[in-house]
């Protein structure tokens, strides 16, 4: 098995790669961090990380010649299992509305918008980013990604924007922060987490292991 973590200049991928290596410790799995679209050909699993602003990440992805096409081919065309993390998940949406309006990959019928303080909330007490550990409400407990990870488990979030899905069926898990926010989305062979499984200790490593075991 070969897991390719797509490197398009967004943040530090070293610790993400280490988390995948740890989760895959018992299997003959190669973890490859690569900026080469051709690497996706050999991939059994594909991971798209991302941190920072939606537009910067999209621009970064487009800055790697052929990467968007290679992702489309591998994920949509060949149906390889795909995991988007944080902004990598948000990029699965059709549009992002952070510092202007931007096109996403359009794989999930969704848009990415700012987290709003709930009506009547004191703005100073409702902190943005949503930063820290929050407990999951798993909407699709049968999803292989959440095997052994039930409602109530904590994972680490840090984000100021959130994904809004048009189809409720695409929402795998939610989290409560001033109201429900999407914590995980997916359809077919693709999933995305708003939280950082690579920063979520044992629960995160379990989710990564589940992803590596996934044969959609």
């Amino acid at each position: 098995m070969t897991v390719v973590i797509v490197d398009y200049g967004s943040g530090n991928l070293r610790s993400a790669a280490k988390a995948f290596e740890r989760a895959a410790a018992d299997t003959a799995t190669a973890i490859v961090v690569s900026a080469d679209p051709k690497a996706l050909k050999a991939a059994s699993h594909i991971v798209l990380p991302g941190q920072g602003a939606f537009a910067d990440c999209k621009r970064g992805l487009e800055g790697v010649a052929g990467m968007t096409e290679a992702l489309e081919g591998a994920v949509i065309g060949e149906g390889k299992p795909f995991l988007g993390i944080c902004v990598g998940m948000q990029l699965m949406a059709k549009t992002g509305h952070e510092h202007g309006d931007h096109q996403g990959l359009g794989w999930i019928d969704a848009k990415v918008t700012a987290i709003d303080a709930p009506a009547g909330a004191d703005p100073a007490s409702f902190k943005i980013p949503h930063m820290g550990w929050n407990d999951l409400e798993v909407r699709d407990p049968s999803h292989p990604l959440f095997a052994g990870i039930g409602t109530g488990r904590h994972v680490y979030f840090v984000h100021s924007y959130r994904i809004l899905c048009e189809r409720p069926g695409d929402v795998i898990a939610e989290v409560d922060y001033g109201g429900p926010l999407v914590a995980a989305v997916g359809r077919d062979n693709m999933v995305g987490t708003q939280f950082h499984p690579d920063k979520s200790q044992a629960t995160g490593l379990r989710l990564i292991a589940n992803f590596l075991d996934w044969r959609p």
Binding site: G11, K199, S200
Partner: protein, 253 residues
């Protein structure tokens, strides 16, 4: 529900923990990576390294520590101390830090915060503020370990760096730091109520009740402590159990 965070901080000099303690089963108390692993196992919500290495030449020892920790602890790691340029931030992030804290350099050149946030995203830019009380309700920012006043008001500065893109404030009371008398709650509340980003309360923790006060009375969403954890007075687990009993939402798993 979002949980309040408990963040143990390790002071690191030339790659070694300055104020270490002999944890049970810990072979080398001065090894930051080993200590980080202990905190990880106890359920710390994040880790913080403060580098107090004096010479630039020895900075590489810090990068080794960050690298070693990131390979073994799968939790958020903030690193601060001596961060002066975009290149310092890049090196720390590449070594495995998730967030970088900026202090003196932000005061020397305020546009540095905006540059850093633009380059790496607000989520990884923490601005550390060291403040001393001038009069009731007034705090001044100090640099160089509290020796040099700046004339800048702490609350104004917090608002300014937040507007520039800081994603979090690490607020330390110089009056309380090392005293074990508890946080400066008035300072913490003044800053936390003035900004929309999370505020980490720091400086003065001596008891577990102080941690509760930082959240409930200081309005911080995270509490940082060094010595009570370093010296093994309390474990992270004890701290969390105490906070939970006091009604503070914390993660216990």
């Amino acid at each position: 529900m979002l949980k309040m965070r408990i963040i143990p901080c390790l002071d690191v000099k030339d790659g070694r923990v300055v104020k270490g303690v002999n944890f049970v089963d810990l072979i080398d108390a001065g090894d930051p990576v080993a200590q980080a692993r202990v905190y990880d196992g106890e359920g710390a919500d994040e880790l913080c390294f403060l580098d107090i290495t004096a010479s630039v030449e020895n900075r590489d020892t810090l990068y080794d520590v960050v690298r070693g920790t990131a390979e073994q602890c799968f939790m958020p790691l903030t690193v601060g101390g001596g961060v002066r340029a975009v290149e310092d931030i890049r090196t720390l992030l590449l070594a495995g830090a998730d967030k970088v804290s900026i202090n003196t350099a932000a005061i020397a050149r305020p546009e540095f915060v905006a540059e850093a946030a633009r380059k790496f995203g607000s989520q990884c830019i923490v601005v550390a503020i060291d403040a001393k009380a001038l009069s009731p309700g007034k705090w001044e920012i100090f640099t160089h370990g509290g020796r040099r006043g700046t004339g800048i008001d702490a609350v104004d500065w917090a608002k300014r760096v937040t507007a520039s893109g800081a994603g979090e404030i690490l607020l330390t009371s110089m009056d309380r730091d090392g005293t074990r008398e508890g946080f400066d709650l008035a300072l913490t509340r003044a800053v936390a109520d003035a900004v929309t980003v999370p505020v980490i309360a720091s400086g003065g923790v001596g008891t577990l009740d102080h941690l509760v006060e930082g959240i409930n009375e200081g309005h911080a969403t995270a509490v940082l402590a060094a010595s009570i954890f370093h010296f093994g007075i309390y474990s992270i687990r004890q701290a969390k159990a105490h906070m939970k009993a006091a009604g503070v939402p914390v993660r216990l798993e």
